[in-house]
């Protein structure tokens, strides 16, 4: 009895339209599912990659902003361990500032300003009777 029913079913399969069979074969060859799902964008591969790259880009931007802020802070506040540099006139160009420094250097190099002279000491200290 069971055997009879199975044979009937096989026969029925053979009677199915050819077009539907071809469609099945096409779906199998593409290796994709014909069943539609309710997947969200972020759950897809593309979505995940976009999310990661976006996140990385955000970190990079934040990193650059922090670096710029640190640099600005250093320029403004300066490092307390470093002594104040010679005064610079903000209205002067770098070249003008260099010439101004040259003038100062020249003034200190005046030959009239002598170095500490050799001390006058007695090189012959002894207890001689003459």
């Amino acid at each position: 009895m069971t055997k009879k029913i199975l044979d009937d079913q096989t026969d029925f399969a053979h009677q199915a339209p050819l077009l539907e069979q071809a469609e099945d074969q096409w779906w199998q060859s593409t290796d994709k599912s014909r069943i539609k799902t309710d997947q969200k964008f972020l759950e897809t591969k593309k979505g995940k990659l976009t999310l990661i790259f976006g996140f990385l880009l955000m970190i990079l931007v934040a990193f650059i902003i922090i670096l710029v802020m640190i640099k600005q802070q250093m320029n403004q506040g300066g490092n307390p361990s470093i002594l104040p540099q010679p005064e610079t006139d903000k209205d002067l160009t770098p070249l003008q500032q260099q010439i101004k420094d040259l003038r100062l250097q020249l003034e200190t190099a005046d030959p009239a300003i002598k170095e500490t002279p050799f001390p006058i000491v007695d090189m012959e200290i002894s207890v001689s009777s003459e």
Binding site: K48, Q105, T108, P119, M123, I125
Partner: protein, 283 residues
């Protein structure tokens, strides 16, 4: 599979970012350390020079008192010729010798610091004079060790005769250092002026009118003329100094005679600086 891939990609990017961050941080830290080290080193040196100068003044005062006492005790010994006066004179002479040692050592150290700080002196000269200074300072230490245990007049007199050549050598080295410092100071100014003149010459003046450009060309030619005049004068000074160095002749005489040349060079440098100021509208 996809999850594993995305995790690998994100891990790779994170490590890349971390490496970038570390490299930037280390590079900037190294640069910062370099520049701050240089500033601190210069500051420490300047402070050390001031301290050494103050120390020298104090030691000179002490030496002056000891030398005065020595003079009095020696005169008494020569007049009285007593055993007590010999004993007193020997003790006071020993004290004066030791305080003279301190003065000479501190002075040599001051010269050493100034030479280290100085710019415009060729390394060959600098190293030579620094070596001499170090040797003399060591000789002073050795001499002091010999003086300390001495109590009798004869041994003290023997040491006094031994000291004489060392004292003369120290004086020579001191004048050698003073000569180098005097010439080096102006050489440093010239080097700086030369660098500025190069910048002035290369400056873009295309925004000036033809008339102004021609005027500037004539002015820079004058500056150039002055800049090229100075090197032979410096060369001559350095050659003279090298000759004194090689012949081991009198540095003191060289130091005293060099100031006429230095005054001339100084006035030329002063004119050069004034030209540069005028060219760059600093006046």
């Amino acid at each position: 599979m996809i999850q594993l891939k995305t995790r690998n990609i994100s891990l790779f990017f994170f490590s890349l970012l971390a490496a970038c961050f570390l490299t930037i941080k280390v590079a900037s830290a190294q640069e910062e350390i370099k520049s701050s080290d240089l500033v601190l080193q210069k500051q420490r040196l300047a402070q050390e020079i001031t301290n050494t100068k103050n120390k020298l003044i104090e030691e000179l005062e002490q030496y002056s008192q000891d030398e005065k006492q020595y003079g009095i005790s020696l005169a008494q010994f020569r007049k009285l010729q007593t055993l007590n006066s010999i004993e007193t004179a020997t003790k006071i002479a020993k004290k004066a010798i030791l305080s003279r040692n301190l003065v000479l050592d501190t002075y040599l150290n001051l010269m050493r610091l100034k030479l280290v700080e100085a710019e415009g002196i060729e390394v060959v000269h600098k190293e030579k004079v620094l070596n001499e200074i170090e040797n003399h300072r060591q000789a002073l230490v050795d001499f002091e060790e010999k003086v300390v245990p001495i109590e009798d007049r004869d041994n003290l007199n023997l040491l006094a005769t031994q000291f004489l050549p060392l004292g003369n050598e120290i004086r020579d080295t001191a004048y050698y250092a003073l000569s180098l410092l005097a010439v080096g100071k102006l050489q440093a100014v010239y080097d700086q002026a030369y660098a500025i003149e190069q910048k002035v010459e290369q400056k873009d003046v295309s925004d000036l009118s033809n008339l102004e450009q021609a005027e500037r060309t004539r002015a820079t030619a004058e500056v150039k003329k002055l800049v090229t005049q100075l090197p032979p004068e410096f060369e001559e000074l350095w050659t003279d100094l090298a000759a004194v160095e090689n012949s081991h002749s009198d540095y003191k005489r060289f130091y005293r005679s060099v100031f006429d040349d230095l005054d001339l060079i100084y006035s030329q440098l002063s004119r050069l600086t004034a030209y540069l100021e005028e060219l760059e509208q600093l006046k």
